[in-house]
């Protein structure tokens, strides 16, 4: 039975990394949001499985937050914002898809090397979870730096945060996981409201970061 528990947890965590890769090459905002919903759904499954395996019922709360808030409410809200802003065109990425993917593979390799080397003492499940979680975190950072659009940067940040929740649930018996996931949800809600406020106030004509660049730096 232990073998099965491990395999399922391993598969789910691995799927999260794959979903991160899928985020990496999406070049349309709608598709990006759909993949993000999938990302959050896989996270919810993974957390729920951890709750079951570790006999930690409080983790079901975290799984429910991931499912309801991240996989449904946030993507729908962002979808509506995109429609209102009329920015459902192609995403301009800073690097080509091929280069980004190679970079992503490099980051995953890096996190495997780092995490597996420093955690020989930990149990196998926690080790793999940490390695996968670090991969998701680094891939999230990569998404944030290769995108020039505020909405897709936010998606990158949210996927990064999913990686953190994976790490927190993988660390067996860690206290405050639920509180931390709630704190992050508040943070993300603020970000989404922030994008929305930009629109409401009509201060920005577009949410393309490149358009914001002219306000950056010294005021002349």
């Amino acid at each position: 039975m232990h073998g099965l528990e491990f395999d399922v947890a391993h598969t789910l965590a691995g799927s999260l990394v794959l979903a991160s890769f899928m985020l990496l090459y999406q070049d349309r905002l709608y598709a990006l949001l759909n993949v993000y919903a999938l990302h959050a759904f896989v996270l919810a499954l993974s957390v729920a499985w951890q709750a079951f395996v570790q006999h930690a019922p409080h983790l079901y709360v975290t799984a429910a937050i991931a499912l309801l808030f991240k996989a449904i409410i946030i993507p729908v809200a962002l979808h509506r914002i995109i429609v209102r802003l009329g920015i459902h065109r192609e995403i301009e990425t800073a690097l080509s898809v091929g280069l980004t993917m190679i970079g992503g593979i490099g980051l995953v390799a890096l996190s495997m090397v780092v995490m597996l080397r420093v955690t020989p003492g930990a149990d196998a499940l926690a080790r793999e979870d940490l390695a996968f979680a670090l991969s998701v975190v680094l891939l999230g950072l990569l998404i944030m730096v290769t995108r020039r659009n505020a909405v897709s940067q936010v998606v990158g940040f949210m996927s990064l945060e999913n990686g953190l929740v994976l790490a927190a649930t993988g660390a067996k018996g860690m206290p405050l996981v639920v509180e931390i996931s709630v704190a992050f949800s508040v943070l993300i809600a603020f970000i989404v409201i922030g994008i929305f406020l930009f629109r409401i106030r009509e201060r920005f004509d577009s949410v393309d970061i490149a358009a914001l660049d002219r306000f950056r730096g010294e005021r002349r």
């Binding site: 940067q153 660390a171 067996k172 018996g173 206290p175 405050l176 704190a183 943070l187």
Partner: protein, 479 residues
Amino acid sequence: MTFDALTALLLIPAVAAAILALLPDYRLTAALNVLAALLTLATAMSLFVVEPASGQYLLVDDLNKVFIVLTTFVGFTTSIFSASYISHEIEIGRLTPTFVRFYHAMYQTLMFAMNLALVANNIGLMWVAVEVATLTTVLMVGIYRTHEALEAAWKYFILGSVGIALALFGTILVYMAARPVIGEGTDAMVWSVLVARAAQFDPALLDVAFVFLLLGYGTKVGLAPLHAWLPDAHAEGPTPISAVLSGLLLNVALYALLRFKMIMAANAGAIAPGPLMVAMGLISVIFAALMLYRRRDIKRMFAYSSIEHMGIIVFAFGMGGALANFAGLLHMIMHSLTKSAIFFAVGHVAQVKGTQKIADIGGLTVTNPVLGWGLVLGVVAIVGLPPLGIFMSEFLIVSSTFARQPWLTAILVLGILIALGGLFSRLNVVVFGEPKGETKPAEASYVPMFAHLALVLAAGIYLPPLLVAGFSNVAKLLG
């Protein structure tokens, strides 16, 4: 949980925030804001008389007492400055009373979050508190709703969030390192337990954890190259918030870093955190000093000066040893007092002249002598000229590290001198020469500014032995 000074320290600002959110009249809320800050300060001072017991979640020791008193003191003086600043902003219509109500509630929420971060004994709780502090300051930075303010808030928000995310990953890794030794559950996140048993932790895991914590909390300290949010946030937000950001929030993030440094130091096998901190500190000093020269915006210039000083402080703590830690601690306090005094002056200057552009401000010593000379005194203090307090702390840092690392210290001194040149050349334009811009008298409360500068001057001339003994004690704790 019993009711003691620690609970009061958190409860007063939390209750005040709720009350201030409900009251409409801005004069009343400004007065209540000052009152709440004063009560918090009194509570903080009482920690020296009766030390409450530490528990699983809250902790008080010699290290955080210094930080708490500094935070509540600058929080109190800034609330006085804020009252006169905000009433002027309402008169000229830059802020509406609704926003001011929100502003005061956020001010107290920020005080609550910073106090919580300082007294938290649980590294998860500390992380949540730093996040809350970040969120409240993001909201306040964007309060003017201009293009620049919103962009600054957004940038601060995204970079701050990434920093906070990395810090959380580091926190999780510390828990992972502690779990095999301490066992599952809350104990493995309690700082006092962690530091007591850190010697048995897996050093490799701690190493990785510290790198994430340094990058994460280092973003909030404003260390180069993670500082990009800092100048914008300082320049575009209301000036009282610039004063609190520079004077306090950067310290709180540094405090979090120091707590983890102490865990690292307790483990013989882990990498020494010192060299990493020294390197980032020196990069910050040199980078920020060079950036001072071409600044056009006065608040942005002093924001870069904050990066420089945080670099000096991190350098001192990175070098370690009783004397360097003592000097770093002293420098941190002196910098908080001086920099917030400068921002008090700059806030009134910007209100009098109606601009923050250095080129449009001139001859302040002629048009507004008190304000102008106050600013001169503040800058003389911040660049580290004798006999003011920063000279003494910088001198201590240099003299305590020179024997060990002459070349590194030489780089530090070079950075300090470059910054001195930069700040004076810009100051010259602002305070001397032909008066430029509007020349109306300032409706300012000078008390907070001169109180801070008087303290800095007094510390530069004479430090009471009691204070020296207290600081040496903390310096030993820091290892």
